[in-house]
Symmetry: C2
Subunit: 534 residues, 2 copies
Amino acid sequence: MRLAALLSATAIAFALPAVAVSAQEVDRVAINRIIDQGFNHSEVMDTAAYLTDRIGGRMTNSPQMRQAEAWTAQRFRDWGLSNVRADPFEFGRGWSVVRSSARMTAPRTLDLRAIPIAWTPGTNGVVSGEVVVAPMTTAADFAKWRGKLSGKVVLVTRPTAGSEPTEAPFRRLTEEDLRDLDTYNMPNHAAPSTNPLRELEFARQMDAFLQEEGAVAWVRMSARDGGLLHGNGSGYRMDDQRRTPGMELAAEDYRRLARLALTEDAKPTLELMSEVRFHEEDVNAYNILADIPGTDRSGEYVMAGAHLDSWAASDGAVDNAAGSAVVMEAARILKAMGVRPKRTIRFALWSGEEQGLWGSLAYVDKYVATRAALGDAQLDALPNNRTWRQRWPIQPRDGYGDLVAYFNLDNGSGKIRGINAEGNVAAAPIFQEWLEPFHAMGATTVSMRTSGSTDHVYMQTVGVPGFQFIQDPLDYGARLHHTSIDSYDHMRAEDLRQAAVIMAAFLLQAANSDEPLPRMPTPTQPRPTDPFPY
Amino acid sequence: MRLAALLSATAIAFALPAVAVSAQEVDRVAINRIIDQGFNHSEVMDTAAYLTDRIGGRMTNSPQMRQAEAWTAQRFRDWGLSNVRADPFEFGRGWSVVRSSARMTAPRTLDLRAIPIAWTPGTNGVVSGEVVVAPMTTAADFAKWRGKLSGKVVLVTRPTAGSEPTEAPFRRLTEEDLRDLDTYNMPNHAAPSTNPLRELEFARQMDAFLQEEGAVAWVRMSARDGGLLHGNGSGYRMDDQRRTPGMELAAEDYRRLARLALTEDAKPTLELMSEVRFHEEDVNAYNILADIPGTDRSGEYVMAGAHLDSWAASDGAVDNAAGSAVVMEAARILKAMGVRPKRTIRFALWSGEEQGLWGSLAYVDKYVATRAALGDAQLDALPNNRTWRQRWPIQPRDGYGDLVAYFNLDNGSGKIRGINAEGNVAAAPIFQEWLEPFHAMGATTVSMRTSGSTDHVYMQTVGVPGFQFIQDPLDYGARLHHTSIDSYDHMRAEDLRQAAVIMAAFLLQAANSDEPLPRMPTPTQPRPTDPFPY
């Protein structure tokens, strides 16, 4: 649905000189100082290196994430930020990998590429078994395999053909790409039609089925070719735990096993070893928050955020040490400049993002707005994010009006090419003006579209202006996102410096502007869009 | 140098209908039968699956290669080929991996992606040591590191930046690509100016240096990003053996170690384990040869070949189970058709290709032509391929004139798009005619260019018409060649079927044509091309 030409103020601002909005609001002297700090005195890659090389993958509530929480808080303090704090929310248990291995032992011996699936238990030493390929995607599949899995290593993915990567993995947005991004999405505050009790049910059901059947372990195929691994999984809540060890195999290794399993005389056997730890001493996760206090006493604040947690397949570099380092660098830049903004500037490093935006939702729920209970004991006992969109009305907290703007960064290490106005047509021309000094750095575009899947989403659900920057994709989607090669090597230093400069500038603009950024009316339960919802 | 327009008969045949050569030579009824066998009754992927999934990586003289030699010979026999034989040549010892692992133990623990470097000894259990980054590329580098490597794990590659893969890994040749291939290369029979005594000397020198210094092991960085590994190495000759264990690390893992080694307070340590076997019970390698006997008694024969050996990082699929399976399938097709060719058709599966085209050179030297000794005891004691091009004159064997044409396939699993005429302007229009029935299958191009790096090269050095087909590159160069993902998944069945059909047709044409394929004059020592060769 492309209503951009009709609805987007951006399209007009893009085509004409930006004269609609007065120019005196952009403080170009301050931007020169931001540029000096951000390019001549950058620390963004030092921050990124510590988070990735030194600490490594930062699964929520793992020891590595605890280390990252402490280290980032200390950096904020070192740089002189105020009110640095670790803000708790209930999450569940942590999980970390000590070591693992996988090995084919028949029809020939071969070391395989594998990692444990998150939150599955370890194997308690080396276990082995014949391979059975038993694809399962719903509980209806169990009947087919009942009685056949005892003592077996169960390959649960239906193998697909190898890939033919006919597009360049690494790319930057062209002018045409940027134009295509400027798409208007109809607002959608309607409750999802899925039953929140069913979510994640299959993972639990399959685990129980495999336990009953006496399977040794289950193995899934990597969703990407080329030997890449991911390892993401569920089962972190204290009331939702797995009992069967699970491992992810490289697609090439998985398919070889699946083909051999079809032979008569070369059935494969696997040896698996997975040593993992569960961390239950503190089931709270923590968002790290830090402020540059505002000079006026209105209580208004602007905010930048990125998630600090990651998956464990590698060092969580472009997802999202990159964004975390940029948010921290923006804080460092502004603090080093000695800014005294009108509104408070707050920096947030979220936890629990990878499991469903837990940290940013917890912040919204606690400080911005909550939503009514459903009045169903079973549903209301579910985690907040399972039922959030189904609960009406929105109930603003005292601080509801104080959060003037939130800027998120979570699309890899590509430089900023613009910002998604998230359907806010009143904010768009202001962003266009704020971006103008950065056109020569490649940041030109205000898109009307709504972006999703990260920590500004819950701001949007309650009507707070939360925005996500547009970044060059680089090889984020093609090979880095959640994979075993998401390490420091694939972050681009010049891109992250540019992003930190623009992030700092946007925060300063938003903190000092005469009027707070325009916001959308607070959502109310929308009329059904379809009279026959079946 | 593009002399194609002047010199290539191909260019003319390409632009005009192929009327210059009489058409009755192409037996289209036979080609219909080849097509039926090769597409409706194909076994090429069964053959490829056995070589890759069942046998796996086939390092020369490893147990896997022995298994492949026996299995392929048996397949030829099963299909009814004649004179199936394993033709020996001296090579050296075999080597195979039992298992291996690598693990960072400080500043944090992390399983790394690593494989042993070919023909280096195992670690004899788990060894560990602090990491020292000591880039070495010539013996002149040793002085810098002397006295600093005792008890250390030595990282010998200078780390480079991460890659930005801005081209599609998987591609097929366009019409423009095919036109660009039609380039004429001046013949070059001049002796190389390198000193054959120096070749591979550095690997030996570094091994000795590391031994003297008491290094625990050496580690090199993968030449490709993305977690891919290779593991190729030297040291297979009985008089040229390594004593220091060597491992290759994924580039991402290597660079992380190299960065940490630069820190003051987070120096990395590594645990390495490499269990390997040497196989010295038979230092001969074996080419597998099989014939379809010719009906006339001239002794003339035509030949197809591909190398059966591979590296060990994966299953040696596109390099070169693919080519081997195509050569075998061409044999099967022709035999299944019950052809009784005029000239004998010979099929060759070479060994020792990856270490320097040993197998095909041994064949040439034994049956086609040898070259004079240099008269220097030290040089003449070197392996044949080190001095081959420097020894004049060429001394034809009795069978020199009998080998009428040799066709090689060793550029992955891409379908055949044409053939390199290797500078033979008299053969080019004949190939154009032979290709004509396959234009609709994408095989259209006769290029004048000379191709290298595989088993037709030594045929060319003595003036025998040896040719390499042009194939679609697919993702051969981008991510498969010698890597840890060169397994069955990345072979393309339809491409290999097409290649087998064309290979069979070319063999039948060459075997039955009235006149043998035109050949170049036998090379003689060329005049120096430069009067001042320094």
